[in-house]
Every structure is written in C-alpha cells, then in structure tokens.
Symmetry: C2
Subunit: 364 residues, 2 copies
C-alpha cells in the first residue's frame, strides 16, 4: 500500500537529489546527474531478481552547457513541484506537469514539449529509485479490469472499499485503479492468474464462466498493458504465490505484450523489479498451435517478419522455447489471432484449448 | 433492459428477413435486400427525434450476380447463427463470427475478411431495425467508466448486482458493461452528466471531488466513445431527464467526439435514435476559451485545418455556434488540450473553468 511512509521516503529521495546539486555547487563542481544508458545494449539479466535491468553504462546530464544547465534547472523545479504534491497528498498526470510548468516564475525552467517533461520524470524515477506512482504521478490512461474469486480492499480518497471481483462487480469486472499499491488482498480462491490480450476473448472467458469453473482470475491486458495492470499482476504472483499465464494473439506484437508482463520493457528496465513477473508463462497462441489446432491464419506482413527477426536478437527472448517458436513461425509465414479459436466453436477455447494447454504446462 | 421479449423480437425480425428471400424465390423474383445508402449526402435531420438519420436513397443487394448471390447466402447463414445464439442466450463478438464462419458447411457462405462480416452485421442491423446488441453481438472493446451519485442494478449472467457508482466502486469507477441495456437505474442524486474525453481529466475531476461537490455523474469517454458509453449517456438523459454536457480537448477531432455523442455518426446513422443525445451540449475546450483563459496551445497542423474545414461542411455542425467557433479557430490557427487548464493550477478546472462555463450555460 502507498502509505504515509512511502510518501515521506519519496520526498526524502527527491530532496536528496536537489541537495546533491547544491553540494556539487558548494564544492565548486559543475552540477551533474548520472543516469543509466537506456538502450538494448545496456540491459543485463539480474540473476537475483530474474529480470532484465540496466547495466553499468551511464550518461551524464551536466550543467557545463546552457542546454545542460537548463535541464538541471527544470529538474530542480520539478522536484519542488513533486515534493509539494506529496506534502499536500495530491496527484497529477505527466501532461498536467507539462502545462503546469507554464506557471513557474522562471521561464527557462518551463518545458518546451511534453516529451521533455516525460523524459525528465523518467530520469528522476531512475535516479531516485522511486517509482512515478510514488511521486503521485498518474498515467494518462488507466489499467484494465479483473474478474475472478478475489476479495480486496482499496484505499480511496473517500475511504476504504471492500470489493469481491465476482460478487460485487458487473460483467465489466473490477476496474484497476491507477496506483494498485492502494490495494490489499483480503481473501481469494484463485488457482492461477490468466492475463488476456483482447477484450473479445476476455468477454468470452467470462461469458463461458471460465473464471468460476477453474478458479482463475481473468486480468484483461487491453493490448500492451498499462503499468497498473503489470504491477497488480506482479503483486498477485508475489504476494499470493499464484502462477501467472499470459494468453495473447499469435504474432510478434503479442509476444512483446507477453515480454512486457514477464521481462519488463527496455524503456523501463529500471522498473522491472517493480513491474515484471519473470515467472509468467505464455499459454498461447503459440506458432505450433497454428499447426496443431489447424487455426485460420493471416500471412505474415513484412513488418511482422522484421519484428520476429528482431525478437530473435532480443536478449529477453533468448530461450530455447522462443527461438523454436519464432523460427517455426518464420517457416510457416503465418500468424493467428486468439479469437481464431472460434473457428472450432465458441466453447473450444474454454473446453479444449485452455484446459489442454494448461494441463500440459502443469498449471491445471 | 434486454429481456426475453427483446430476444424474441430480434429473432422474429431476423427470421422475417430470411423468409423474405424465401418468398421472393417462391414468387419467381430474384432475391434481394434494400439498404439505405450510407454516405454524408444521404443523412437527413429528423425533426421528431432531433437526430440525423438516413434519407430515402437506397442501395440494393441482389442475387442477380454470383457475387450478389453469395452475399445473400452469407446473410442467410449469419441469420441462422444469430437466431441460434439468441435461442441459447449466448453472445459473441464480430471477430468470432468471422472465424466461426469457417466451420459452416457451405464454403461459399464463409467470410473472406472481417470487413465483410462486419459490414453484413451492420446491414442486418439496418434492415431489421434491431441493434447489434439485441443480436447479442458484443463489441471488441468495452465502454468506459462512471463515477457519481448513481445507484444501479445490472443484470449479469450470474445474477443481479446492485452497485452505487461512488460507494461501491474503487477510484477506477464503475465499468460500463458491453450492453448497458442490462442496467436499471434505481436511485440517484445527479444534477447533470459530464462526459469527459481524457483519462487524465477524468482522474482530475474525481481527485478534486467534482462529482461529489456538484452532484454530477462523470462519464469517461476514453477518446471516441464506444457504443455502450453513448447508449448509457442517452439513457441517463432520456430516462432520468438529466442535462448532458461534453468536455473535450479543443481540436477538430474532439468536436467529432462531441458530435458522435450528440448527433450520431454517419457510419451508424441508423442507430442515432438509440445512441445519440441531441440535447447534449459542448462545455469546451471551445476556441474562444483559448483567448479568454489564455491557454497554452499548439499550432494547427494541416490535417487539423482540413478537418475543421470539413466540419464546416458537415450537416451535423450547421449551427451558428459551431460555425463561429470553427471559424474563430481557423483564424487563431491554434488548438488546446483540456489538460492545458493546468497551466492555471491543478484546481483551476474544478474551481473556475467548469463552474463559470456551466453557470453561463445555465446548467449550474
């Protein structure tokens, strides 16, 4: 849970950063900030946490040019804003921060573009080791929904809410809040967590009562999952010791969705330990299912082929399983959507495909 | 509410359509189906319902070519599928229908692309005058969320759920189900309905307690609103007699979002009476606000200018208000996002902008 202590820690870390600039000034140094280089070549596998994190290479933001000095000035103003925000127990979006900077008294500190303010907040996240959520920065778009035998308590600004994610919600399910660390898990009857890419398939599973019959919690990923969705998935795995499986379309973009749940993303490798669930397993659609279940397919586009080839090079996909599947798919020259299972009837996915796959994976 | 009677009516209408083909055959005619022409030039304003609907021009799908005959064959198979689906009280997505056609015994009846099956279902909607929801066809993506003093009862496959959209939900709000006609409004304390384009602004209003202070129901549109979101907005207006206002960014794409809530879309003018809320009013960001509130702006791109010019020609925007605002914006050559109000502070939108605008509109 996001507590008063978390807020105080975040404030402290931010103030420390600003103090560092001050100390550098005082010591006669040019103020600077070291930040890990954020490229594919600088992510390394961390054996302890089992996720990909940034390596040792760093870039330096320094005030030895007007441009660099302006960056550190903006960082100082942003730190002040964030510290005040935490003090007042408020929150804001990245976009609001960008616009809000127009009201700052020093014109040099104002952001010229939203990219600039987004980038700065990410830098602060990395350097302070405090997540954006703990700065009370909200994402623009919210997480998705949960449906399954889980009872939780959410700490809202209007008091606590106790919600059972089957009995107290409509067919749309429970809407994950922007910061899922405001949730406590109270009780559950979940055997495994099933993350689903598309809304159509999520609705199919709920209509067919799959969550009820198999005691599973259906997490709708809604395409590339929001941070809130990845965070709650990780917490369900870590705190409730639940297996997590990911069910997507069978194409390279969907493997990336799986990758972002399981391994974290290159852009936010500093958050892997907070967001990634390395134990999450891929339940499909896998390229071999296209053959085995004789699914309707579409031909691979050039962009699909390029994406698959780039995945073969991606450190996160360097496992025998993925090499085999991706090479098979490049041979087949085909891809399939998860809803293609409907070619075998509307119940095929819940009566045959998932039970077979989950049994062979040892989840059922 | 979607009742057994609705299902029976939908079945009846569908069977009638198939029976018509049969009768045409029996009478020695070439079977055919007449469908309103769906272009901007064939939408007319209906004075009774106050919305734009299709005019008198029709196109004919006829079996006098192999291609035409195949279309009617597909229609017959689809009708059979939908009738069975209604009988079994199941539902499916448009995408599932496309894939499912692979299992049909007549290969000529199978769809060659998803566009084809989507188009056919729309045709059936128009000709039968039954909405897709009443065929139990689910959209791929769900509606958005509600937050405010509304108590409702949702009829789910697992029984009834009574939910208060402030007291029984987390900060994410109540997730609108795919078919909001399964909802009954039980009780409320709402003075007006406020539809909001972006998640960031929706969260701002909720964080600032705007729904609570002004007794308003915040409906998140999530960009171009899903049918479920437009439908529930219309029902709130019609059944609870509530004013509806729409709060979006100040650019031509956002005026289209307003337009789709208020006037319906050209592509689905047959649904205007079901989905559109002609009494919905635009609360901003209006081009004159850019001047009046001195908002941070971006320059209009060429695509923005083209879109504004096309709106000046659009029959749905032929009102003095819109002509003035659009011409002003073309003069200013600027656009502004709703979150740009944050340049005046995080509370400006709830303490100044919305109260001022809503008062001047007579809503407050």
């Amino acid at each position: 849970m996001s507590t008063k202590q978390d807020d105080e820690l975040a404030q402290e870390r931010l103030v420390d950063l600003a103090a560092e600039f001050y100390d550098q000034f005082a010591a006669g140094e040019v103020p600077h900030m070291d930040i890990p280089t954020r490229t594919k070549s600088n992510i390394v596998f961390d054996e302890d946490s089992n996720v990909w994190v940034y390596g040792d290479r760093t870039s330096t933001r320094t005030a030895n040019s007007v441009r660099g000095a302006r960056k550190l000035l903006k960082a100082s103003y942003t730190i002040e804003f964030l510290v005040n925000q935490l003090e007042e127990d408020r929150s804001s979006t990245l976009r609001e921060l960008y616009y809000l900077s127009e009201s700052w008294d020093n014109e040099e500190a104002q952001f010229k573009s939203q990219d600039e303010s987004n980038q700065l907040v990410e830098d602060l996240e990395i350097v302070s080791e405090v997540t954006r959520e703990d700065f009370h920065m909200r994402p623009e778009e919210s997480g998705a929904t949960l449906m399954g035998p889980l009872e939780l308590r959410e700490q809202t600004r209007r008091g606590e809410r106790e919600i059972h994610c089957q009995k107290d919600v409509g067919e749309g399910g429970y809407q994950i809040p922007n910061n899922p660390d405001t949730i406590d898990f109270l009780d559950h009857d979940i055997d495994f967590v099933l993350c689903v890419e598309t809304g159509g398939m999520r609705d199919r599973l709920v209509e067919n009562g799959f969550d009820d019959e198999y005691n599973c919690l259906v997490v709708h990923l809604k395409g590339q999952p929001a941070r809130a969705t990845r965070r709650i998935t990780k917490r369900l795995h870590d705190e409730l010791d639940l297996p997590v499986v990911v069910f997507t379309d069978g194409d390279p973009w969907s493997y990336r969705i799986y990758g972002s749940v399981a391994y974290g993303s290159i852009k936010s490798a500093h958050l892997s330990e907070y967001l990634a669930t390395p134990e999450a397993r891929f339940v499909g659609i896998q390229p071999e299912d296209i053959v085995e279940y004789d699914l309707p397919t579409d031909p691979l586009a050039d962009s699909d082929i390029n994406a698959l080839e780039s995945e073969l090079e991606d450190p996160r996909f360097q496992r025998d399983y993925w090499t085999e599947q991706i090479e098979l798919q490049l041979d087949l020259e085909k891809k399939a959507e998860q809803q293609a299972l409907a070619a075998r009837g509307l119940d095929f996915v819940t009566e045959t495909y998932l039970p077979e796959r989950l049994s062979s994976m040892g989840v059922l």
